[in-house]
Symmetry: C2
Subunit: 386 residues, 2 copies
């Protein structure tokens, strides 16, 4: 068997999520609880009645590619040539890592806390992965200077997920520009930025930064999964220069051939309906405010969500987040993801998803607070008697 496959460890997220029982309070979820708007699916089906469901070309239907590019209006990335349609944003990220990085020389730099998929994909490709940690004391705010300090001559691709899973932070325009300028100022071969914008339509601040607006070597990945509650549709895309897109399409062609034609028709319906990508944005904004309220009342230290649908809470000093998450599931029937799953800098934290109903969130947070107080008291007791 391929040793890179054997070496990849199991998922901590799945280990904890697997403890979910009927009736558990589930704050582990990484997908919307809203339902998708059926009319987009119905129209795609009606179209398929006459046309069947044949392959599209590898890069995706050219009308859809043009629609995606013109929707975002990123400078330099505004035509069909800048888009590769993929099987969800997972394949978009995978193909980007595979196509851009030469395992013999290049390194991936992941800005942590981060979803573990980027590092796992790098392992699968035999690509060295380094990480740079944002500062817990600064609520994990994106810090361009820290990232620049971590770039080496081997760094070929920097991955940033903003709005961020898990932290809920959003990079500001200022920090994005600072990072872009710094990378250009290095003068050597281009360092690409993969901006994972999968939570773009869950942004609750005004000054959000978009690398595609300020840095020429940007690859944006995105999908309909979070914006339109369509995780199971598996429709994503990349936005990049025509040259990079050609390399991505070539790779994508041998991995999955083309994205689902049905899913592409659904996407075309969504992109040609004004406001459809933002159909759930207001719900998320209101839910984010309510979730912040719940967390404020709990007395727990938490990172106020600026985007995505997570909030991170800090546990009592010295607490193992994995042990805490297991105990929380076993004894309190609450599922939450241990911070350590997102990098060492998030040890001692929990990631909570707040897409559930608010009563459940409040009850879950109250149980977390109870266990945390007990853990904190116990650890204080230990330190005072030792």
């Amino acid at each position: 068997m391929n040793p890179v496959v054997e070496r990849i460890s199991g998922s901590l997220i799945r280990e904890i999520a697997g403890k979910r029982k009927v009736g558990s309070i589930d704050l582990g979820l990484g997908e919307p609880t809203l339902l998708p708007t059926m009319v987009f699916l119905e129209r795609a089906l009606a179209k398929s009645e006459g046309l069947g469901l044949k392959y599209t070309v590898n890069a995706g239907d050219s009308e859809l590619r043009a629609s995606i590019a013109s929707h975002y209006r990123y400078p330099q990335l505004s035509t069909a040539d800048n888009v590769c349609v993929t099987t969800g944003s997972q394949e978009a990220v995978y193909v980007t890592i595979k196509a851009l990085l030469d395992p013999a020389h290049d390194e991936l730099l992941v800005v942590e806390p981060a979803f573990p998929a980027y590092a796992k994909m790098a392992s699968l490709e035999g690509v060295r992965c380094r990480t740079v940690s944002m500062d817990a004391a600064d609520d994990f705010a994106f810090d361009a200077q820290r990232i620049l300090n971590a770039v080496t001559s081997r760094t070929r691709l920097v991955v940033i997920c903003s709005p961020c899973n898990p932290t809920g932070r959003v990079i500001t325009g200022e920090q994005a520009r600072k990072l872009g300028h710094g990378l250009l100022a290095r003068g050597a071969g281009p360092v690409y930025v993969l901006h994972d914008e999968i939570y773009r339509e869950q942004t609750y601040i005004e000054e959000a930064g978009h690398f595609a607006e300020c840095y020429p070597h940007t690859i944006v990945t995105n999908s309909l999964s979070k914006s339109n509650a369509l995780t199971g549709l598996r429709l994503g895309w990349t936005l990049a220069s025509a040259e990079i897109t050609a390399a991505l399409v070539k790779t994508h062609a041998w991995v999955t051939s083309c994205a689902s034609t049905f899913a592409q028709r659904v996407a075309q319906e969504i992109f040609s309906t004004p406001g459809a990508l933002l159909e759930h944005a207001r719900w998320y904004r209101e839910q984010a405010a309510s979730a912040s309220g719940v967390l404020e009342r709990s007395g727990l230290r938490f990172v106020r969500p600026e985007g995505s649908f997570y909030a991170c809470v800090q546990l009592a000093e010295g607490t193992s987040s994995l042990a805490f998450a297991h105990r929380l599931a076993d004894e309190f029937d609450v599922i939450a993801i241990p911070g350590i799953a997102f990098g060492p800098c998030m040890e001692g934290w929990l990631r909570l998803s707040w897409v559930c109903v608010l009563d459940q969130l409040a009850e879950g947070v109250s149980r977390i607070e109870r266990l945390n107080s007990a853990t904190g008291a116990a650890s204080m007791q230990v330190s005072s008697t030792s």
Copy 2:
């Protein structure tokens, strides 16, 4: 950029297929011209109305996995644990090559003539690919002894597409058993067989061989693309031992996460409707017989299709299949794929798809015959004057 991506050459098939104009006679097609049965899609949509379209687990919906396994009733591969649901059979083959082969040691052996994807995927993974040619004089019949003779100590995986694209040949049960016995008799570590059964429901002989029935180290890949005219649905699967399946699922999880939930629901409808996978089988059987009739009347030498929806015709001695295919497209407005695209042993041949209407096939074959006679006469003239 990753050099393995840069090195992968463009597709000859696409180069020729790209010459298609409105009104061209298209014998290049690799997908059914039939339309899918809408009721399966409609039922999947109705289910999605209540349930939404959430992720499934990475391996695919467990009910669907069980349905697939129990449909085929391969010994040892009859439970959900033996199935990984993928984004079409393209991802199924890709994940198999990626998970099973260690680029440092292992080689892929491709039985040619073969669809070029296997070798391209191996290149993409940095895996060495060797080929073994079936004999044109024997109409490219699958020959177990030839394959066994080509197996080396580095061979870890043998890829066989039967029913075959491009030859239309089907491996017999006898030859499959002979190959299986020979591989087991080697005694060293297992040599896996990837049996690409994507044309399984287009089989026109009785004694078709299935490796999963006679060889324990078999991975079967398949999809709904050809059987149910659902190429654009992107729903495929692997069938393999539980241990191998676990490795395939682990790889698949990071490449695409999970197959489309909508597509999985369509598949569940098809697998739970008796006879649905064979809904187009009779049409193909009749079309195969008619196509053979057309080719017989043409006087061209051709390989009688035992399966799939292609027939290969031999060109006049010394003809370059690529030059012929270009001239055929440019001067006769007929699209057919040059044999060289499927390996050197098919140089001097053309692959014809016969899923179009029969009048078009007859007209296309007649134009091929005309160009071939002219080419043959010209080359004879050249040889007699030289």
